[in-house]
């Protein structure tokens, strides 16, 4: 299959399918993340990348048979490895006897959050999540350094007329989108703050928020979206999220607890945990939203710069 767009479409189907697996195996939070990241944002980002690189795959320089043999051998070894593993859901599996009973039995008293996944993610394993937030932040910085947007102020009018001609075709889609975007934003806020009780949390909410902004940018033009979402502000927000997360840890350190030990944030340990989880989820959501929007703006901005340069050459 040489058509890259078709490959991206199939990857989107794969994302939807794997989320179905997660739902069937009761891993609701993972399914949520897969829904928003695997099926949504990554498909979009790959498409935007394809618009820059061209649509058909280059002819392979080596025989695909070799790669196929390597994949088959690796897959066979991995499947052979799984034969030694305990059965799915076995009671005596190592993963069920080590820390899981403590999470399941004590998290309600220690953290007081009904959704165990959130309490593990944000409180017990807070340091890991901090690492994830920093990784996303680093990705944002990488995109910012590698793909600077070439902006020429004088070309703005040309781009706007281009955008208008492109968007007048999609009148119905624009109107429906205008109705839907507030709903999407509202739903993202619900996911953000409902993470304590049901599936959801900062990562998912951040991606949904970013998806709404990207939808707006796709239909109303990048320049208009840039005017709504200030670039300086969004870069500041990406850093602010990580900073918020880290400073919650520092404050708990100063209050006499361990790093990211939220119990000391308030007089009541449970209230402290709630406050800490709320703050760090907010930080994660902030970072994820801004980094996704930054990545999209820079990928798509590249494309419009190319178009603009072409037009300037012609005119």
């Amino acid at each position: 299959m040489k058509d890259l767009v078709a490959v991206v479409m199939l990857a989107g189907i794969y994302g939807l399918l794997s989320a179905c697996f997660f739902v069937a195996m009761d891993a609701v939070d993972v399914a949520f993340t897969e829904a928003s990241v695997g099926a949504g944002i990554s498909t979009l980002l790959m498409l935007v990348a394809i618009t820059m690189t061209g649509r058909s795959e280059q002819a392979a320089r080596h025989k695909p048979a070799l790669a196929f043999v390597v994949v088959v051998i690796t897959g066979g070894l991995l499947i052979y490895g799984t034969l030694d593993m305990p059965y799915f859901g076995a009671v005596d599996a190592p993963i069920q006897v080590h820390v899981a009973p403590r999470y399941i039995n004590d998290s309600m008293q220690e953290v007081g959050v009904p959704n165990i996944v959130t309490s593990v993610l944000a409180s017990y394993r807070g340091f890991d999540t901090f690492g994830e937030a920093v990784v996303i932040f680093t990705a944002g910085i990488g995109v910012l350094t590698l793909l600077p947007v070439l902006r020429s102020r004088k070309g703005d009018d040309a781009v706007e007329s281009l955008n208008d001609s492109m968007h007048e075709q999609h009148l119905i889609v624009r109107i429906v989108t205008k109705i839907l975007i507030p709903l999407i934003l509202l739903f993202a806020l619900y996911v953000q703050f409902h993470g304590d009780f049901g599936p959801g949390g900062g990562f998912q909410a951040g991606v949904i928020f970013a998806a709404a902004i990207i939808l707006y940018a796709m239909l109303f033009g990048l320049e208009v979206a840039r005017r709504v979402i200030n670039q300086t502000f969004i870069q500041f927000a990406a850093a602010f999220g990580v900073l918020l997360y880290g400073s919650v840890g520092l404050v708990s350190l100063l209050n006499g607890g361990n790093f990211l030990d939220y119990s000391v944030l308030s007089a009541d340990p449970i209230a402290g945990q709630h406050l800490g989880i709320l703050l760090i989820e907010l930080g994660v959501g902030c970072t994820v939203t801004s980094v996704m929007v930054i990545i999209f703006f820079h990928f798509a901005g590249r494309k419009e710069d190319k178009q603009r340069m072409k037009e300037e050459e012609v005119g």
Partner: protein, 95 residues
């Protein structure tokens, strides 16, 4: 009845995947993805009811929204892709 509906949706998902793989044009594939997304929403809602976990509906809502965003994004960029790149009919000349 819930199980029956779930099975029916699984069958139509398989049919949509087959159309997505054989495709032949880009738009057929987009259509397959769109249909697959709708079916995923329904499947998750049905599974939520069948397993007695109605909070699955949150995921179903996310799917409905994400599906729309994906389709619109694909169309938005397929416009420029179809203009800039060799079209489906011209492909044999290249290869």
């Amino acid at each position: 009845m819930l199980i029956g509906a779930t099975l029916a949706i699984l069958v139509s998902m398989v049919l949509a995947i087959i159309r997505g793989v054989i495709g032949s044009t880009l738009y057929d594939r987009i259509l397959a993805v769109n249909m697959f997304g709708t079916k995923t929403v329904l499947l998750i809602a049905l599974l939520g009811f069948a397993m007695g976990r109605p909070e699955f509906l949150d995921i179903a809502i996310v799917y409905a929204l994400i599906n729309f965003i994906t389709v619109i994004g694909v169309l938005r960029y397929s416009d420029s892709l179809a203009f800039n790149q060799p079209d489906e009919e011209k492909e044999p000349e290249e290869s």
